[in-house]
C-alpha cells in the first residue's frame, strides 16, 4: 500500500520547503524536528556572494532527498530550461515541475504543465508535477510519464486547507497506484492529517512551518500529524454515522432511578 517515488521509498510522508525561514539555523532545526524525508529547493541568479554554496552545504547536511522546483516559471520553455539547470546543480533527476498560470492564485497552468512534463519525462527526468485536482489533467500527466502527482489543496501560501475535499478524494480513488502528494495550501497539522487519512501518500509543507511563530515546534507538529493520518488510514477507521451509539455498555447497569 505504501508507494515509492520513482523507485525511492521515503522514510516519512513529509516533504518540507526551505524558503521563508527566519534564519538558516531555524531552517536546519525545523528540518530535524520535522523528520522530513524530502527538501524542496530552487535556483536563483548567483550574485557572486556565494550564498548558493553556503545554502547547498546547509541542505546537504540535512541528509534528506532534494527536490528542486521550477517555481516562478510561466512558460514551458522556462520550466524546461530551469529543470535542466536544476538537474545539473542538484545532481538529481527529480524535478518539482511548476508552471504558474495565474499570478493571484499561483495555480498551475495545466496546459503548459502537461506539455513540459512530457518533454522532461522523455528527457529522463522524474517529474513531480504541481497540478490541480482535475482528473483529466492527471490522466494526461500519467500518460506523459509522471508516476507522482502533486495536487494543490488551496492557493500556495494561503493556508486555507483543502478547498475541494471532494475533488481530492475523487483523485485518490481514480489513481490508486500513483503516488499522490498534496502540495500547497495546507495551513495546519489537522489539514495534513486529514489528507493523509484520505489516503494521500505524502504532503509538502512550507509556509505553514516557516511562517509560524515557532517554526521548529510547528515542524514537529506536522511530523506527528502526517504520521497520525497515515497510521489512521491503515488502521481502518470506524464509519461515521448520524445516530449515536453508547460507548459504555448498557447491559448490567444498576437500577437506581
Amino acid at each position: 500500500m505504501k508507494k515509492d517515488f520513482y523507485g525511492t521509498a521515503l522514510a516519512t510522508p513529509l516533504m518540507l520547503g526551505t524558503a521563508q525561514y527566519p534564519s538558516p539555523a531555524v531552517l536546519a532545526d525545523a528540518f530535524r524536528e520535522s523528520d522530513a524525508s524530502v527538501a524542496t529547493v530552487s535556483l536563483r541568479r548567483e550574485g557572486g556572494g556565494g550564498a548558493g554554496g553556503a545554502f547547498w552545504d546547509l541542505i546537504r547536511d540535512l541528509g534528506v532527498h532534494m527536490l528542486p522546483n521550477t517555481a516562478g516559471c510561466h512558460t514551458v520553455k522556462e520550466a524546461v530550461t530551469t529543470a535542466h539547470m536544476a538537474r545539473e546543480v542538484f545532481a538529481t533527476p527529480w524535478i518539482k515541475l511548476e508552471v504558474i498560470g495565474n499570478t493571484d492564485t499561483l495555480q498551475p497552468d495545466i496546459f503548459a504543465l502537461v506539455e513540459a512534463a512530457g518533454i522532461l519525462a522523455d528527457d529522463g527526468f522524474e517529474v513531480f508535477p504541481y497540478t490541480t485536482e482535475d482528473l483529466v489533467t492527471a490522466d494526461r500527466l500519467v500518460e506523459a510519464g509522471c508516476r507522482v502527482l502533486m495536487p494543490w489543496a488551496a492557493p500556495i501560501g494561503s493556508g486555507l486547507g483543502p478547498v475541494n475535499e471532494y475533488g481530492l478524494r475523487s483523485l485518490r480513488a481514480h489513481f490508486p497506484d500513483i503516488a499522490l502528494v498534496v502540495d500547497a495550501g495546507l495551513g495546519l497539522p489537522s489539514h495534513a492529517a486529514r489528507v493523509m487519512e484520505m489516503g494521500y501518500d505524502a504532503v509538502l509543507i512550507n509556509s505553514a512551518v516557516a511562517r509560524a511563530g515557532d517554526p521548529v515546534a510547528m515542524a514537529g507538529a506536522f511530523a506527528k500529524a502526517v504520521e497520525a493520518g497515515a497510521t489512521a488510514a491503515a488502521a481502518d477507521p470506524m464509519d461515521a454515522r448520524d445516530m449515536a451509539a453508547p460507548s459504555t455498555p448498557v447491559i448490567g447497569k444498576a437500577f437506581l432511578a
Binding site: 548567483e46 545554502f55 541542505i59 546543480v89
Partner: protein, 65 residues
C-alpha cells in the same frame, strides 16, 4: 565584448562561457548556466563561445517551496 550577465549589461574579455565565469570569479562556484534561454551544460562551457549581446544566466542553489 558586451553582453548581459544575469540581466546586467557587462563588458567582458573572455570569449567562452568558461572564461566568463573565471573572469567573474565564478569559476569554482556551484552554478548552472544558460545562454539566450538555452541550457548550457558544465561540460560545454569551455567550448561554448560567446557573441556580442548574448544573454547569459548563471544560477545557484537557493531556498524553495
Amino acid at each position: 565584448m558586451r553582453l548581459y550577465l544575469n540581466g546586467e549589461a557587462v563588458e567582458v574579455e573572455a570569449g567562452t562561457l568558461a572564461g566568463l565565469l573565471e573572469e567573474r570569479g565564478l569559476g569554482d562556484r556551484l552554478v548552472a548556466t544558460a545562454i539566450n534561454e538555452v541550457f548550457v551544460a558544465a561540460a560545454s562551457r569551455e567550448t561554448q563561445e560567446l557573441k556580442d549581446g548574448d544573454r547569459v544566466e548563471v544560477v545557484a542553489p537557493m531556498q524553495g517551496g
